[in-house]
């Protein structure tokens, strides 16, 4: 058998380190953005005492979480109660592995550096598979806490996940049909370059600008809010109705883990939206060279897109109130599911006519 390619292993470790470092830093940054953003929207200063512009507030919060007492409810199922926060974190951390985050370029030794941890040919299926495991963290936490509010949070989360995963997957199918592949690398490559719409305007060949795809984008983006349990779909924790939902009984670092997994899931979802509909690392109207310059620029472009979508997440949270529960279900089953299916038909028609 062949030996281990140490350079390859080193590059993989480097990629994992970069992505993991970015993902772990998403939480403190996003907490700060969320608090300052909400203050901006509600016309108040927000946290501004710890460090410049309150930038170190998140680290102070993290320190507080570590120092707090870790409570264990008496009637809780101890094993499930303890592993539930970890279960929430695993899908949030693993799904990012198949998302490409920059243009591949040739290293000095003639080796191709692909900025993606695992370039598997079932990429998007792997994301959906792992993301669907994320609901177990919430359901387990809700059930194991032996608290009625937590249980309701868990029940709601499970119903919501089943409903919106369908719409999410079907909306992604449209983007995959255009690329003709399940691999996210191919999806991004398909979106590089530009096209001329109606002989008038030259647009980047991103899926969002395609006349056939805007419905899929709406379905995917809104279902993404439901999938990551963000307002206006945060029924699992609905603080006005269920105290704090599934994490009512959690404290200290276990609670912090739920917090982290929520923001990491948000970051992954933003990366997915950017990859499927906004051309991933593609820079509009610019042909990136296959060198480290092109790589660096494409990474910056990808990060900028993800950051913009993350800000939309925050913006929506502080703008749109929570839906009623039956409205959530009706929206998922009667609006988004048919929309996603219709969009698949439209895209198939476009492909059959040779327009895409």
């Amino acid at each position: 058998m062949h030996g281990i390619d140490w350079v390859d292993a080193g590059l993989s470790a480097l990629k994992i380190a970069i992505v993991l470092g970015a993902m772990l830093n998403v939480t403190p940054i996003m907490v700060w953005v969320e608090r300052r953003g909400s203050a901006l929207i509600q016309d108040r200063p927000g946290p501004n005492r710890v460090g410049p512009f309150g930038l170190f507030q998140s680290f102070a919060d993290a320190l507080k979480f570590v120092l707090k007492e870790d409570m264990l409810p008496e009637k809780a199922n101890k094993v499930l109660y303890t592993i539930a926060p970890m279960f929430g974190l695993i899908p949030a951390l693993t799904t990012i592995a198949v998302v490409p985050w920059g243009r591949p370029f040739t290293l000095p030794g003639g080796r191709l550096f692909e900025p993606i941890i695992a370039n598997v040919n079932i990429g998007i299926l792997l994301i959906f598979a792992l993301a669907s495991m994320g609901v177990y963290g919430i359901v387990m936490a809700g059930w194991a806490s032996a608290n009625k509010y937590s249980l309701f949070g868990g029940i709601r989360a499970s119903a919501q996940m089943i409903s919106y995963e369908l719409a999410l997957t079907l909306a992604a199918v449209s983007a995959l049909m255009v690329a003709g592949s399940l691999s996210l690398t191919d999806v991004v490559w398909r979106q590089t370059g530009s096209f001329v719409l109606f002989n008038v305007i030259k647009l980047p060949a991103w899926n969002i600008f395609s006349p056939a795809m805007w419905m899929a984008f709406i379905v995917f983006f809104v279902s993404g809010f439901a999938e990551t349990n963000r307002l206006p779909f945060d029924f699992a924790e609905a603080e006005a109705e269920l105290v704090a939902g599934y994490h009512t009984e959690y404290s200290s670092m276990k609670f912090a883990l739920f917090f982290m997994s929520e923001y990491m899931a948000m970051a992954t979802m933003s990366a997915l939206v950017a990859t499927l509909f906004f051309g991933g690392w593609d820079i509009p109207w610019y042909n990136e060279p296959a060198t480290w310059v092109g790589f660096a620029l494409s990474v910056l472009s990808f990060v900028a897109k993800v950051a913009a979508i993350l800000f939309v997440f925050v913006w929506v949270r502080w703008t749109i109130p929570r839906l009623k529960y039956d409205l959530l279900m009706k929206l998922g089953w009667k609006v988004f599911l048919p929309m996603a299916v219709i969009n698949i038909v439209i895209v198939a028609w476009f492909i059959a006519r040779g327009w895409i």
Binding site: V120, A129, S132, Y136, G142, K148, L151, I155, A159, K330
Partner: protein, 194 residues
């Protein structure tokens, strides 16, 4: 050394699959049983990867672990079943059940081991989404359409069966939909368990 890795993975996940499957049968609490079954299904997905069918492994996790088992958990928690004591099975039935299934299993394993095929064909097994999809829509298009009709029938049947209509077999013509039926039994059983 690298060629032993698949064997180690196989044995680890085979053990996970068997242990958690046994937990489904032996644990009295249906919620723990359902979560164990999820772990078992996940281990089976790893088996599919070892069998060079990663596409099917992803489907296994999405469909079984991600959808069907969430539905099971939803129903168990909705009916609040964890507070219901399951009556003990009669010892005779238990004895007969264990011995007969053990005999059945031993017979199965005996014959599998006796007539086991060990020679694998050469070349890689191509089982990516493209191959499976082309085969599906060329050779199996009729069963595929039948399955879609079956799923539609299942949706209608499930809606009809779970409607809360008292004793009548057919539900009254109401505008009730899945969502507003589903919240009521939870409250109902909630009150009863207090």
């Amino acid at each position: 050394m690298a060629q032993f890795v698949p064997f180690a993975v196989f044995f680890f996940f085979a053990a996970v699959a068997v242990i958690f499957a046994a937990a489904v049968v032996l644990h009295r609490n249906p919620v723990v049983g359902a979560l164990s079954l999820v772990a078992s299904f996940f281990a089976l997905a790893v088996m599919y990867v070892l069998l060079e069918a990663p596409f099917l492994a992803a489907l296994q996790v999405i469909v079984y672990a991600g959808a069907i088992m969430v539905l099971f958990l939803f129903v168990i928690m909705l009916l609040n079943l964890q507070h219901q004591e399951e009556p003990r099975t009669r010892p005779v039935q238990q004895f007969l059940g264990y011995t007969s299934s053990a005999a059945f299993g031993l017979a199965l394993i005996y014959y599998l081991a006796k007539f086991g095929v060990t020679q694998l064909p050469d070349g890689p097994f191509v089982s990516d989404a493209r191959t499976v999809g082309i085969k599906m829509f060329e050779s199996y298009i009729f069963p595929f359409e039948m399955v879609s009709i079956l799923l539609l029938a299942a949706i209608v049947g499930a809606l009809l069966l779970s409607g809360r209509t008292g004793t009548s077999v057919l539900p009254a013509p109401s505008t009730a939909t899945l969502d507003d039926q589903d919240t009521r039994p939870a409250l109902h059983s909630e009150v009863e368990s207090r």
